[in-house]
């Protein structure tokens, strides 16, 4: 019957024939048949029907045949779990084979068979193999623990394999050590909070010894693991660096890059005035340059990393500009990356050379590359002031070539140069205007229109030029339309007499005929401004523009720090944190650079670990007057007679201020405060009271690392000195970009406040609702599935007692604190509210609140993948509902 079944879906009879051959008595024929099966498997044909026949060939002394059968098993065991059991016996027997190669083969293959029943049988052989006398078997078994953990983590923990694996770090054989390190690192990654890779100076010493002796791959595993270690002090950091530097001469580029990662990271801890620090910097340049003579793909990886290194420590490669010159035959991806680095390294010292190169590149074939080269010339002009003139003339030369995309790109960058150096190069406008007709890309058209509008008073026929664009207004892209609207309004404000008609025309085009809300809004604003108060209009529209920054495309510093910790990996190639492209828990852990020892000197030694990384890095220059934003919003509301309060949340609950720092403990400074979340901005409201006899000045504030990375978004603005008995209220905006460390309790925040007298420390606790973000509405459709997906043991139940609100009022109140009710169900007089919360770090919290009519006690069930937050979420519910 089986045979007939086969024939039904096997019209060519191939499977049937194979079956016969597999059951042949002749060994050679059998082997050939298995080979054919594997070949079919490779091209994607389904040969799972042959499972029993192939498994029958497993018991053989022929190693090659055995390996083929194993290969088949690994592929199909999952789809035929019951039959896969047939193979167990052979595996267990092979694990006892006198030949170490066969023992290893068996344990290696068994780990790849993802069938629960088989894993159970795997434990005993694996335990033996982990203690095998032969290092080849041990190194294979070490990796097998990681395989098993991937299938059944609990089993691995229960069986104590993790401890055995830890013991293997002290193995006499370097390759066993390397594989054990790799396996442990992988397992530790999926348990971010476990102390699995318990790195201490002793284990580090073992790893460094194994580093000298193991294969190139093993060296990579060990170096990548070392990079996760935090040395206790600068001396330890230096001694590790000294033992890692020889790796920079390894032929394998990955070894070199991983060594660079360790050095870049540990270097953070070395004081800059140390001689060794300078030596190390010098040692880093040559190997990085050597990476550029590797194959193209590796060059690409190296260049992406060098791009990061150059941003973090420009001094390393500042003299190596020439090696980044583009070669005619480089693949395009190498060319583009080299160009990027050239711009980063451009300085007054080498600008002449760089410009000569860029000009050369602008005549190449690849359009993207040419565009980037032209753009690079513009960036040089902005970066190196002395070169601006030469850059502009180079750009003008390029415009003369009349190559369409070159001209357009040049115009886009010239616009930026105008903004950077006002009133300097406007003489070239005439040349630019000649090319008006050839511009067909939105960005270039928009740039050109901006230039015409901005310098309308110097261009005689500005009105004609702009009018010519108006004809096809509706066919333009939004970018161009917006720019055209602004430019014409500028023109009108500068030459009101001749252009009244034009401005009328553009305003009506923008407000009446367009369905783009941005365009309409901008049109209305201009219209009202112009009709109500032309003087104000002039002030707004022709306001002095802020200077554009020199380095617009630098990677944001905290991201850069994280990426430096990932040198050599995919994250450094994508320039994205792993969480952006890795699924599951693996990517969640953010890595940070260690703090420099020297930066703590400002404070008392006892506080050195406390002040951490913050002080070395200048806080992002964010004006503290963020309150400006809502004000503008309000103004707009008035303009459109929107009235207040539409769709506005009622605002979150703010607890009254409590005293955090007593005057007697802080030489007369008393601090009380609270936290608030206003319009998505987290603020710490502080009252500083001077209870001492003398004036206090020079206030500054720092946070210790904390669970959610809260940090001041700007300096504390205490502008006037605080005289005795005076109280001053300060609102400090907070960002979430600080260093992260889990605190106990979770919402604990340790703060240091400095003034002219001393530094004071206190700790306070913030309500977790501070971190509930405004877009915390979970998808209704997937709520249930996610709820079920989170294991029940991470569900937490709470009672909220003595609440006399109906469910609608309660959910409105909660919504004010960004706890969103996304569904409601009423069952037998009981209201069930399903709610979601999202924390600033992306953690989702799901909750179910049961309200029985007449019962003042609510039941709250909370589920979250990070169960430790549940308790604090419950506290927020209490706080919000009771106030």
């Amino acid at each position: 019957l089986k045979v007939i079944n086969c024939c039904v879906w096997d019209p060519s009879g191939e499977i049937f024939e194979l079956k016969a051959e597999l059951n042949s008595d002749k060994k050679e024929k059998k082997k050939e048949a298995v080979k054919k099966v594997i070949a079919s498997m490779t091209v994607g044909k389904d040969v799972s029907a042959l499972f029993p026949d192939v498994v029958n060939c497993m018991q053989t002394d022929n190693l090659e045949l055995k390996k083929l059968v194993y290969l088949y098993l690994m592929n199909y065991a999952k789809s035929q779990p019951d039959m896969a059991i047939m193979a167990v016996n052979t595996f267990v027997k092979d694990c006892e084979d006198p030949n170490p190669l066969i023992r290893a083969l068996a344990v290696r293959t068994m780990g790849c068979i993802r069938v629960d029943k088989i894993t159970e049988y795997l434990c005993e052989p694996l335990r033996k193999c982990l203690k095998d006398e032969d290092p080849y078997v041990r190194k294979t078994a070490a990796v097998c623990v990681a395989k098993l953990h991937d299938i059944n983590a609990q089993l691995v923990e229960d069986q104590g394999f993790l401890d055995t694996l830890k013991d293997l770090i002290s193995d006499s054989n370097p390759m066993v050590v390397a594989n054990a390190v790799a396996a442990l690192s992988e397992i530790a990654e999926s348990h971010p909070n476990s102390n699995l890779l318990d790195l201490n100076p002793q284990t580090i010493n073992k790893l460094l010894t194994a580093l000298n002796e193991c294969t190139e791959w093993g060296q990579i595993f060990i170096l990548d693991c070392l990079a996760n270690y935090m040395p206790c002090d600068d001396r330890e950091s230096q001694s590790i660096c000294e033992r890692v530097t020889p790796r920079l001469s390894h032929a394998n580029s990955a070894v070199v890059l991983s060594a660079v990662k360790v050095l870049m990271k540990f270097m953070e801890m070395l004081p800059k005035d140390l001689d060794y620090y300078g030596t190390l910097l010098k040692k880093l340049a040559p190997p990085l340059v050597t990476l550029l003579s590797a194959e193209a793909e590796l060059q690409y990886v190296a260049l992406r990393n060098i791009n990061l290194i150059v941003q973090k420590r420009p001094e390393i490669l500042k003299h190596e500009m020439k090696v980044f010159f583009v070669k005619y035959n480089d693949p395009i991806y190498v060319k583009l990356e080299k160009l990027d680095i050239m711009i980063r390294l451009a300085s007054q010292a080498n600008i002449a050379q760089v410009l000569a190169e860029l000009k050369e590149y602008a005549t190449e074939v690849d359009v993207d590359f040419v565009r980037k080269a032209v753009r690079a010339i513009g960036r040089c002009a902005i970066k190196v002031e002395q070169s601006a003139e030469r850059c502009v003339s180079t750009l003008l030369d390029l415009i003369q070539t009349k190559v369409n995309y070159v001209v357009q790109e040049a115009i886009v960058v010239i616009k930026d140069i105008f903004r950077k150096y006002p009133n300097k190069y406007e003489s070239v406008i005439a040349t630019l205007c000649e090319n008006l007709d050839s511009l067909d890309e939105p960005e270039a058209r928009a740039a050109m229109i901006w230039i015409v509008g901005e310098y309308a008073e110097r261009i005689d026929n500005a009105d004609e030029l702009l009018e010519s664009f108006l004809e096809g207004f509706h066919d333009e892209s939004a970018q161009v339309q917006l720019q055209l609207l602004t430019a014409i309004v500028k023109l009108f404000l500068k030459k009101p007499t001749e252009t009244q008609e034009l401005v009328q025309q553009v305003l009506s085009l923008a407000t009446q005929d367009s369905d783009n809300p941005d365009l309409r809004d901008r049109g209305y604003i201009y219209w009202r401004l112009l009709s109500t108060d032309p003087v104000a209009a002039k002030e707004v529209v022709l306001a002095e523009k802020p200077l554009i920054s020199e380095e617009t495309d630098l990677i944001e510093p905290t991201l850069l720090e994280e990426l430096i910790c990932h040198i050599g990996t995919l994250a450094s190639v994508y320039h994205k944190p792993p969480s952006a492209f890795v699924e599951g828990s693996r990517g969640v852990q953010h890595k940070r650079l260690p703090a420099r020892a020297g930066s703590c000197l400002l404070y008392s030694p006892a506080a050195s670990h406390f002040m951490g990384a913050g002080l070395g890095v200048a806080p992002a220059a964010m004006p503290a007057s963020l309150g400006g934003a809502p004000a503008v919003g309000g103004g707009l509301g008035d303009l459109f007679d929107l009235g207040g309060g539409v769709g506005m949340p009622t605002g979150s609950y703010v607890a009254p201020k409590t005293v955090w720092l007593l005057a007697i403990k802080a030489k007369g400074l008393e601090i009380s405060g609270t936290f608030a979340r206003r319009g998505g901005i987290i603020q710490m409201d502080l009252s500083l009271t001077n209870k001492a006899m003398s004036v206090m000045t020079d206030f500054a504030v720092q946070f210790n690392r904390n669970s959610f990375g809260l940090a001041p978004a700007g300096p504390m603005q205490v502008l006037t000195p605080l005289s005795p008995n005076q109280t001053i209220d300060v609102s400090l905006p907070l960002s979430m970009s600080g260093p992260v460390m889990k605190m106990e309790p979770l919402n604990n925040l340790q703060v240091a406040v400095k003034n002219n007298i001393d530094v004071f420390y206190f700790s306070c606790q913030y309500p977790l609702s501070l971190l509930f973000v405004e877009d915390g509405r979970f998808y209704r459709q997937v709520f249930l599935a996610t709820w079920k997906d989170i294991p029940n043991d991470s569900e937490a139940q709470f009672q909220i007692k003595d609440i006399h609100l109906n469910s609608d009022v309660a959910s409105n109140k909660l919504q004010g604190s960004n706890i969103f009710t996304i569904a409601k169900r009423t069952v037998e007089g009981q209201d069930m509210l399903y709610q979601s919360i999202k924390l600033t770090n992306g953690i989702w919290v799901l909750a179910e609140m049961r309200i029985q009519t007449g019962n003042p006690n609510y039941t709250l069930s909370i589920k979250c993948r990070a169960p430790e937050v549940c308790q604090f979420v419950y506290q927020c519910y209490e706080l919000v509902l009771k106030n």
Binding site: G44, L63, N75, M175, E213, L298, Y328, I332, L570
Partner: protein, 441 residues
Amino acid sequence: MIGGLFIYNHKGEVLISRVYRDDIGRNAVDAFRVNVIHARQQVRSPVTNIARTSFFHIKRSNIWLAAVTKQNVNAAMVFEFLYKMCDVMSAYFGKISEENIKNNFVLIYELLDEILDFGYPQNSETGALKTFITQQGIKGQHQTKEEQSQITSQVTGQIGWRREGIKYRRNELFLDVLESVNLLMSPQGQVLSAHVSGRVVMKSYLSGMPECKFGMNDKIVIDKQGKGGTTDDPGKSELGGSGKQSIAIDDCTFHQCVRLSKFDSERSISFIPPDGEYELMRYRTTKDIILPFRVIPLVREVGRTKLEVKVVIKSNFKPSLLAQKIEVRIPTPLNTSGVQVICMKGKAKYKASENAIVWKIKRMAGMKESQISAEIELLPTNDKKKWARPPISMNFEVPFAPSGLKVRYLKVFESKLNYSDHDVIKWVRYIGRSGIYETRC
């Protein structure tokens, strides 16, 4: 770690597919084919992210090798592994071609099982692999217990690249210093960038486990010794004219057999070599490079339909030495309709398919010069874009090291066997080749 490894032919058909991780599905095989192999555009990056899966690929002739992962792997390691994989395959069956891969697919699967475990690269030295992964799969049974443990200790051991018990009747070694000299010169003859990337390739046929020590005229070593009082033997200098005793090496990297910590502390190069041919070291120099040829271009546009090109090459080394295989490649515009060439030496031809005039000279002695002139007729076009004028490139081979590197010694010690350093026959050869040797015009 690496989740899977696929090999495709130029049409995108899968030749080898091995999946190591559960998160990589069969659809990954197709995703790469559709998005990369069949993509119309030229390859814009060797790393591609498709639907949260990252693909690393390299190409060998028309074969694609792709490694796949969903994790944040060490990207440099993945590429190094792919190259290594190619080396291993070539060592087993020669050129990497569709036919060879199809004929050896069982072997390839066996290798992939051995050198990549759960996506972690394992020992991939061919010397070691060949002892237990063979085409005669039955070898396993005939090994004695000692042989087996020897294999495993070699695969996992500190000297994974060499097996014990090697015997030669004649102990012999060959050293090739192979350099490629790279130049980018402006039309005015200004050196924009120049560097030598060199390799020391060793072929060793030595018995036992010989301990070797390699010495060259590294400036740092010589300066240190100079202080100590020892002087270098001047008779060894083959390139006497330059009088260069030592050279500054910018950076060097070594085969994994070299003890790196020893190099770091004492700058001495000591190792136990693999058997047969391997690359001992690579190095890079940028100072005082001898540029064997100078190219002087002159391009004149005569009206819109004619170009006049004159190129002079000058050889810049000792007259007694001969450069070989000289080739000068002068690019011509795409709208070239005809070319007339006159050259003093060698043969020159216009190759329309390559858009270039190729001028070949078999041999040329040092301190000579030669010249080519050409008239290029152009078809009138209304293409506004100017001709990009690619650089003039050059190929050649010279019998010396343009960096000035010299081998001072290679000492061999094998204490257990009865041969000494004097009994080893040693050969040294220097070859300088052009790398990317370009002059803009």
